[in-house]
Symmetry: C2
Subunit: 253 residues, 2 copies
DNA sequence: AAGTGGTCTAGACCACGTG
DNA sequence: ACGTGGTCTAGACCACTTA
């Protein structure tokens, strides 16, 4: 049995905390989030039932449900009627919709293959320091790779990782296609959100060679900052993408 | 008092409808949506209280709340504690975040000015027919305009509207900056969602002249299909945007 | 003081999946 | 048959707004 949460109970009314009040379900969510962050609950794992969690946390089932529903809405949990509630896994099929917005103009989206061009440790640039909130003395790993859809190279991307959060990254022999699964399995880092900025640029001579396009051809520049469950920036990614037969899709609601 | 909704009541269990069952709150949402679609409730209007709606629809307050919450999540309603529930209005401040994703690289986002270049009625292109689900015999209105941020032209856009849904569009003397408010006030059409596709293209000579950039300069091409509350396509928009000091921002969760 | 939405609880039943 | 999440209800109290 865990410590009782603050909030209405037998002896104290909610009025006891006039400022900074958080609803019970938000406190429950924070507790459950902590278990994810601390790695008590790992991807794929079955959570205790709503009733069991309600008993553990001394709240009603409805309050637990509200917290679980909100985490499910953020793609952190997966609920299946009759089975239970699971920690979401970074499988390709989900990532394809959540974090990969490029689709062929005709046909359905699919996950591109990757070929690593280079890896290495380096001092961060000013942009990397700002985006990843680093100190000037920190170091970073950089990976450059080409990604292809059905044999055709479509983009070249540079991934920057803070060395401090990815110990022994340079000991890796292979870098898998789905790096978010790697971050999760190897370092327990779950990517929870990302912010992307798009611009149109001209292909440099180097990009043109690697991508097999003309110098000056317009490319979609996508710069992404990915964040962990505690909202700390974890990855910076610059993608230069040929958009002749491919587009970046966004749904606005 | 309205007709009773299907679902559990005194005499009949939910098992009575084995196929195509919809939860009560979804049926309630559909009923409330209909009032928006039919114009019974117009932007800015105060809705009846939860208790009043629950009485009208013969369901509990909690079920009404679930429907109202879901519509609020879709930016269709606005709930204010102590005041009531209001129909959302297409004000600039909200549209800026919901449907306008361009921001200056430095500084905060703001709504660009517009200058109309041309308007007219025409036969739709194949693309317009496909995007707006038109018949070949239908007609469309087209507006072309330049949009500027602090005096600098940043994009040129072509808006296509199905003539059938915007009667007397060509009688308009001026076209306001915020056309979604115009659609709402003049024709009762509320834009509820939109899908955008982005590509990188080269500025044509015409674009270059209008935007004051070089021919061949990379531009962000944004094609948008906007849909009404019943999910029917209502507007097609092609924007060609200078992205030198501006980016398109997306949050992924 | 009265009315609104926001939170929390408790209990009932349903739909789904597994044994 | 049993346990899970999903839905629905009823009632209590809290926080905010207006009068």
């Amino acid at each position: 049995m865990e410590k009782k949460l603050s909030g209405p109970d037998e002896t104290e009314t909610r009025t006891g905390e006039p400022i900074g009040f958080k609803p019970l379900y938000a406190q429950v969510r924070e507790r459950l989030m902590r278990r994810l962050v601390d790695g008590d609950w790992t991807p794929g794992m079955l959570l205790p039932s709503e009733m069991e969690l309600a008993r553990q946390l001394n709240v009603s089932q409805g309050t637990v449900r509200k917290a679980l529903d909100s985490m499910t809405a953020d793609n952190l949990l997966l609920r299946r009627q009759g089975r239970g509630t699971y920690v979401a896994e970074p499988e390709e099929s989900r990532m394809l919709f959540q974090f990969f917005r490029l689709s062929p103009d005709q046909g359905s989206p699919s996950f591109p293959d990757s070929r690593v061009l280079s890896t290495g440790k380096a001092k961060p640039t000013r942009t990397e320091i700002a985006s990843l909130k680093l100190e000037k003395t920190d170091e970073v790993f950089r990976i450059e790779r080409i990604r292809s859809l059905s044999g055709q190279p479509i983009l070249i991307e540079t991934i920057t990782l803070p060395a401090g959060r990815f110990p022994d990254f340079d000991h890796l022999t292979i870098i898998p296609n789905n790096v978010y699964r790697l971050y999760s399995e190897r370092w327990g880092i779950t990517i929870g959100s990302a912010e992307e900025r798009l611009k149109a640029i001209s292909a440099s001579s180097r990009d043109a060679v690697k991508l097999g396009c003309h110098i000056g051809e317009p490319l979609l520049l996508i710069s992404r900052v990915a964040r962990d469950l505690e909202d700390r920036p974890v990855e910076l990614r610059w993608s230069r993408c040929i958009s002749r037969d491919i587009h970046y899709a966004v749904n606005l609601r």
